[in-house]
């Protein structure tokens, strides 16, 4: 099922569209489509809100990457962990966190998932074992060794999904992480969301050998490449990886996808041609999945319309909620810095002031 696709990376490559074998419930497939559309619309709204200065800082969006996200995150069970990076709005939404709390975080409000302290790059949801978005490229990766080791230490039935970008694979932290995961045989699945660029740098210029999945061998793990525009392919690969993880074999999955927009809201992406972007938009993961579902008669056009309607409402509610949520009070500036700090953290009084 999973093809080791050889491709001209800058051309979208539609893998064999053999009739998809669905063994998910109708409801599940419907929800997958709905979540993909939610992520897309949510990101559209984020863009709009950024231009209206409701959102600030660095803001990286997931347009085009929805299949990698839903395919990888949907199969996870409640006890499984996720560690992500700064391009993670869709990741936390896919994990089931309510959009309004995510939007509130982007607005920098007290009701945000990190109480407004984190912002776009640092979303978090402890109850869903979503262990955060991180801003130092590859810096999130070593954390996954620890989460995976904890699972082994506690002899628990858990899998950790480690999300990373293609550019991050050039950083030393990626090497130490994968090597240690391999040495300890940890139940960690590393998904490289290979959107072909790290900012303006193609993966051919950031990796001496751009077939990133092939590194699996060197780390003693299962390495495979998957069409990241096909949600069911990603899902099946993820399911296999979860199975292997539970038997002590880690995986390295490279999902080839594309980000439709610039690296961040601020990036005009002049390092690539409009034609290239257009070509990839033509292989859109949402439309593809929708067609597959239509053909299999799992959803109807009406379903799609209903989904779009509901998603729009949800996103609008998220904005309204975020807008109504208070800014954190400056008096809370030092909250959450330390757990039970000693009184010596205060300064002594200066007699003459």
């Amino acid at each position: 099922m999973v093809k080791e696709v050889e491709r001209n990376r800058l051309q979208p490559h539609t893998t064999q569209n053999a009739p998809v074998e669905f063994h998910e419930s109708r409801q599940e497939l419907h929800d997958m489509l709905a979540q993909m559309i939610l992520i897309r619309h949510f990101e559209d709204k984020v863009y709009e809100m950024y231009t209206r200065a409701k959102i600030g800082g660095y803001c990286h969006m997931n347009h085009g990457e929805e299949a990698t996200i839903i395919g990888a995150i949907r199969p996870l069970r409640p006890q499984d962990w996720i560690i992500s990076f700064y391009r993670e709005h869709g990741h936390i939404l896919a994990r089931g966190t309510e959009p309004k709390y995510v939007m509130a975080e982007l607005f920098g409000r007290e009701d945000g998932v990190a109480r407004g302290r984190g912002g776009s790059m640092h979303l978090f949801d402890a109850s869903r074992r979503f262990l955060g978005g991180y801003g130092i490229v590859a810096g999130q990766m070593p954390l996954a060794i620890g989460v995976g080791y904890s699972t082994k230490y506690r002899d628990a039935d858990e899998v950790t999904l480690l999300l990373t970008g293609d550019g991050a694979m050039a950083n030393g932290a990626s090497h130490e992480t994968l090597n240690m995961i391999g040495i300890y045989h940890l139940p960690v699945i590393t998904l490289i969301v290979n959107n072909l660029y790290g900012m303006g740098t193609t993966v051919e210029r950031s990796a001496a050998n751009p077939d990133l999945w092939k590194r699996g061998e060197m780390y003693n793990m299962w390495g495979t490449q998957v069409d990241g525009m096909d949600v069911m392919q990603v899902r099946r690969t993820m399911e296999e990886a979860m199975d292997r993880a539970r038997h002590g074999q880690p995986s390295l999955i490279e999902a080839i996808t594309y980000r439709y927009r610039g690296h961040s809201v601020a990036d005009a992406a002049r390092y690539r041609t409009p034609e290239e972007v257009q070509a990839w938009r033509g292989a859109d993961p949402i439309e593809r999945f929708y067609r597959q579902l239509l053909e299999a008669e799992v959803v109807t056009e009406q379903d799609r319309q209903e989904i779009e309607r509901q998603v729009d409402a949800t996103v609008q509610q998220a904005v309204d909620f975020a807008d109504a949520s208070p800014q954190p009070d400056p008096s809370g500036l030092f909250d959450y810095l330390y757990v039970n700090p000693p009184p010596t953290l205060n300064e002594p009084e200066t007699p003459d002031a």
Partner: protein
């Protein structure tokens, strides 16, 4: 004198030095087609080609190591680290290699590199992207740490840094790139390790570097309205530290506030305060005070971010208080 931005001044310095010396080359992430994260190197790849404007993968250790190794063979690399926060990933190469190579090999080698990087808070960049870390490197003998506040200084100090034979961390500032100022025409080179009195005054010395210099100047303006004459000393370099200029000023004004972005405890201001009290003890009418950012990882929310950053008002208020011109007290 032509007016230009800090960004343009840096750009011109790079360009002029590359034209002058074929051994000067640039390296870093996105410095080519992308033009650099803060667009300082824009256009240089067209003029000098990809060999002299070398784009790298996201490997900060590799970048600094590449620069250091190349410098040992006689080249003059100027590396850009996208922001100082990312230098943490590669600082072993700077601290354990570049800063030590000349000394630990008994003078048999040199490591004339320049690492350019912006420090400081931007707008809502949050805790991993808003740090002020240059004092770490200023702690390390073997390093120079240069930090200009104006376009003229940026140009003159960057050119001097590129010509200097020591390993240099050249600290820019995220919020200064668009600041404008006059820059002397023609060859403009400034000495490294020399502080600059940016404004003369009699009553109190405000010591700052990089963006905080502008805050100090704004505070001095406000204080002038209250009849207080503040002298503003721009350190321009954390190492070598021109403490002589600072001490001379304090001996005159008898009062001092050190002002910088970043955190207070173990921050750069501690060194300045410690030195002032040591060398101008009998001249001080009041302890040296420090005004810095709050000691938290910078929060994203604007309400908190604002509360965490140092403010001009605080400088004005403390200065007035120190000079006894504030009736209310704090």
């Amino acid at each position: 004198m032509p007016e230009m931005t800090y960004r343009q001044a840096l750009h011109d310095a790079l360009r002029e030095e590359m034209q002058r010396d074929p051994n000067v080359f640039l390296l870093g992430e996105e410095i080519g087609i992308f033009g650099g994260s803060y667009k300082v190197t824009e256009g240089l790849i067209d003029e000098f080609g990809p060999q002299r404007v070398l784009e790298t993968p996201i490997s900060e250790g590799g970048i600094i190591g590449l620069a250091t190794g190349a410098s040992m063979t006689g080249l003059r690399p100027v590396a850009e680290i996208m922001t100082i926060n990312f230098i943490v990933v590669g600082m072993d190469q700077l601290v354990n290699n570049a800063a030590k190579i000349p000394y630990m090999f008994g003078g048999e080698a040199k490591a004339p590199i320049v690492i350019r990087t912006p420090s400081g808070a931007g707008h809502q960049l949050a805790s991993q992207h808003s740090q002020v870390l240059e004092s770490w490197f200023a702690y390390v003998p073997g390093m120079y740490v240069i930090a200009p506040s104006t376009p003229a200084d940026a140009k003159g100090l960057l050119k001097a840094s590129i010509r200097d034979d020591n390993p240099i961390l050249f600290v820019e500032n995220v919020l200064l790139y668009n600041e404008k100022g006059e820059v002397p025409e023609g060859e403009h080179i400034l000495p490294l390790g020399k502080a600059d009195v940016k404004r003369e005054g009699e009553d109190i010395t405000l010591i700052a570097y990089s963006r905080a210099v502008h805050m100090a100047l704004a505070a001095a303006d406000a204080l002038a309205e209250q009849g207080i004459s503040a002298e503003v000393v721009d350190l321009r370099s954390l190492r070598p530290l021109d403490i002589e200029t600072v001490v001379s000023s304090v001996r005159k004004t008898n009062h001092a506030i050190v002002l910088h972005e970043g955190w207070k405890r173990y921050g750069a201001g501690a060194e300045i305060a410690a030195e002032i009290q040591e060398h101008a003890f009998d001249d001080l009418d009041h302890p040296v005070e420090r005004i810095t950012g709050a000691e938290v990882p910078l929060p994203y929310a604007t309400s908190l971010e604002r509360a965490a950053l140092p403010r001009v008002e605080d400088v004005v208020m403390r200065a007035a208080f120190i000079l006894g011109r504030d009736k209310v007290g704090v």
